[in-house]
């Protein structure tokens, strides 16, 4: 990784970290109950929820991995990020109203709470909590490592010191202020990311000589690269389209934001504005990768050692220090806003959901233990990042695809279809976890890969949907009678 030498960039990042700490102090005073800690007391307005949902979805992957993917394989990954406008609208339509209505009449604080209310019994809650925990461990490990790497570059310190600083700030506001701190830092972080993305988009086009010039350069080098499918081909691109189009409903750190809305009618503009604000971030994803590749192809830039260096190298070489500082702060913001959401739902899975599934009730002093577990999760993720990088890479495969395959059928279909059963819920979650893991391992070790770059997550999602519907049809005798009246009414509104 290149090392930052500009004091301006350093100051921007330090100011950002200080702002996060201030928000943590403020949020700590507002957090008194477990409901405050997990769903912000169901007291958030629409603007906060919209920006928080957008920024928690845009992780470090979007700011670094996205431009890297475009640099590496052209337009292929654009299908992944462009479909987010549809994905957010889809989430609002298919689960937004149902989940928020359930929160209106029940003490629903987590996604396993939602599943337990819908299907009854303990098994669906347990399986959902396990799926979320596995996904969180994988995601969190990669995010923590990313925080460390960014601070190594900016502060020019060793990884353990960088982790201590970055995770110290994250731990403070996540443990003290819970999701209150999480969503308000998300709001600040989301706005920062949007401004940074717009500015970087401008510079990417300017440095590249305009979009037409970039396209011409890339076309001369390899027409397929700038073609609609990029280097990965149509099947891979379209599998990403489907996975990211409907898989957003399966991202717990995003859809649990519905439970935090103060007023159910505040759902109204979210479907539109969350997608539009994410589209602004997609400009950075697209433009930096294309521009950097065009610079390399035209001989104005040395080829990069790794595709993921596209964004950092572009910022340090081609943008003013102040903008680079903002974007590095925005990059940290992207990573930390995703991490704080994962910490929250991961701690809830361990302290609230799994014990409730096993014993029938949550543990006593839930708020205290959720805070403790938040810190434990973060410390564990840091240790993994320092000593078990390979394990993190492996667990990282339990990411978007696992969440999508495990959660979409049970939540998206299950909250809208009364014949869906608890057995179908547990079956589809189990199948999706095993399938994702086996296919990823198999591809990683060269035993078997899906044809033509087809996404493992998309394949698992389709199989999981089939399992869920078939098992429901086979086991749905009197399923409708087992739904509680208030939940049934929430499914009918």
């Amino acid at each position: 990784m290149p090392i930052v030498e500009s004091p301006t960039i350093l100051i921007c990042v330090l100011l950002y970290l200080a702002a996060c700490l201030c928000i943590g102090v403020w949020a700590m005073k507002r957090t008194r109950t477990i409901s405050d800690f997990l769903v912000a007391g169901k007291a958030l307005g629409p603007t906060v929820v919209i920006i928080a949902a957008m920024s928690s979805l845009m992780s470090g992957f979007g700011f670094v991995g996205g431009p890297g993917l475009v640099y590496d394989s052209g337009s292929s990954s654009l299908w992944m990020t462009f479909i987010a406008i549809f994905g957010f609208a889809f989430s609002w339509v298919i689960v937004g109203k149902r989940m928020r209505l359930m929160a209106e009449v029940r003490e629903v604080l987590t996604l396993p709470d939602v599943v337990a209310a819908r299907y009854g019994g303990r098994a669906p809650r347990f399986m959902m909590a396990v799926a979320i925990f596995l996904g969180v461990v994988g995601y969190l490990g990669t995010q923590v490592l990313a925080i460390g790497m960014v601070l190594v570059v900016v502060l020019n310190v060793q990884l353990p010191v960088a982790l201590l600083i970055g995770l110290g700030v994250l731990a403070f506001y996540s443990v003290a202020g819970g999701i209150f701190a999480g969503v308000y830092t998300d709001l600040f972080q989301g706005l920062l990311m949007m401004v940074a993305a717009l500015a970087v988009f401008y510079y990417a086009l300017t440095v590249g000589g305009g979009m037409s010039e970039i396209s011409r350069t890339l076309w001369q080098a390899d027409p397929e690269f700038i073609g609609p499918w990029g280097a990965r081909g149509p099947l891979a691109s379209l599998s990403w389209l489907l996975l990211f189009g409907i898989g957003g409903v399966g991202q717990p750190h995003v859809i649990t934001k519905f439970l935090m809305l103060r007023n159910i009618r505040d759902l109204r503009w979210g479907a539109l504005f969350t997608g539009c604000s994410y589209a602004i971030l997609s400009l950075l994803w697209m433009s930096v990768g294309l521009s950097m590749r065009a610079l390399v192809e035209s001989g104005r830039q040395q080829p990069l050692a790794e595709a993921d260096l596209a964004a950092p190298v572009f910022l340090l070489t081609y943008t003013p220090d102040l903008l680079a500082g903002m974007v590095f702060a925005g990059l940290l913001a992207a990573i930390m806003s995703t991490s704080d959401s994962f910490l929250n739902i991961g701690a809830a899975a361990v302290v609230r959901d799994i014990p409730t599934a096993l014993t029938g009730h949550p543990i006593r002093r839930e708020l205290l233990w959720t805070r403790v577990m938040t810190a434990v999760l973060l410390a564990s993720a840091a240790l993994f990042a320092l000593y078990m990088e390979n394990l993190i890479a492996l667990m990282g495969t339990f990411g978007w695809g696992t969440f999508a395959a495990a959660i979409v059928p049970s939540v998206a279909i299950g909250l809208n279809w009364k014949r869906a059963t608890g057995l179908a819920c547990t079956s589809s979650i189990g199948v999706s976890i095993v399938l994702n893991f086996v296919l990823e391992l198999s591809a990683r070790h060269g035993f078997y890969s899906l044809p033509d770059g087809f996404s493992v997550g998309c394949f698992s999602l389709l199989i999981s949907l089939v399992v869920f519907i078939v098992v429901s049809l086979l086991s749905s005798k009197n399923a409708k009678d087992k739904i509680a009246p208030d939940i049934e009414a929430a499914m009918e509104v």
Partner: protein, 140 residues
């Protein structure tokens, strides 16, 4: 959900199986059409009892047609051997993705917001729900 809802879910099952088969046989255009159909069926399931309210059926069928037309346009325009034709900075087929497929979905969010009281949350149905069940029950 009523019978039409169950039919929609069964249609999702059929399309999901078809999508798996198309993926495994690398029939990418058929897979693309199936993927868009799945996504639109999902939207239809989400609108639930309000599915028949105007303009939801038009929105869903219209979007499906638009997406299939755009996908076909990409397939027809994508020819790396032909001379480069730029549309607003992108090769023609890529321009369909950037200026067509990317922004089209904003229509869903727009319709959702503008028809919220009729197609998402009719005030009378919400009031009835709150009247019957509007209580906090920590033990539930």
């Amino acid at each position: 959900m009523n019978n039409s809802g169950s039919i929609l879910v069964k249609a999702i099952l059929v399309l999901a199986i078809a999508a798996i088969l198309f993926a495994l046989t690398n029939s990418w255009l058929l897979f693309g059409v199936t993927a868009w159909s799945l996504m639109m069926l999902g939207l239809a399931v989400g609108f639930g009892a309000q599915l028949s309210q105007k303009p939801i059926p038009i929105l869903i069928v219209g979007l499906l047609v638009v997406y299939i037309v755009l996908l076909t346009a990409i397939a027809l325009l994508d020819n790396p051997r032909q001379p480069l034709t730029l549309i607003l900075g992108f090769p023609a087929a890529t321009a369909v993705l950037v200026y067509g497929i990317w922004p089209v979905a904003t229509v869903i969010g727009l319709v959702y917001a503008l028809t919220f009281d009729r197609t998402v949350l009719p005030p009378d149905r919400l009031d009835e729900f709150i009247r019957r069940f509007g209580r906090k029950d920590p033990q539930a």
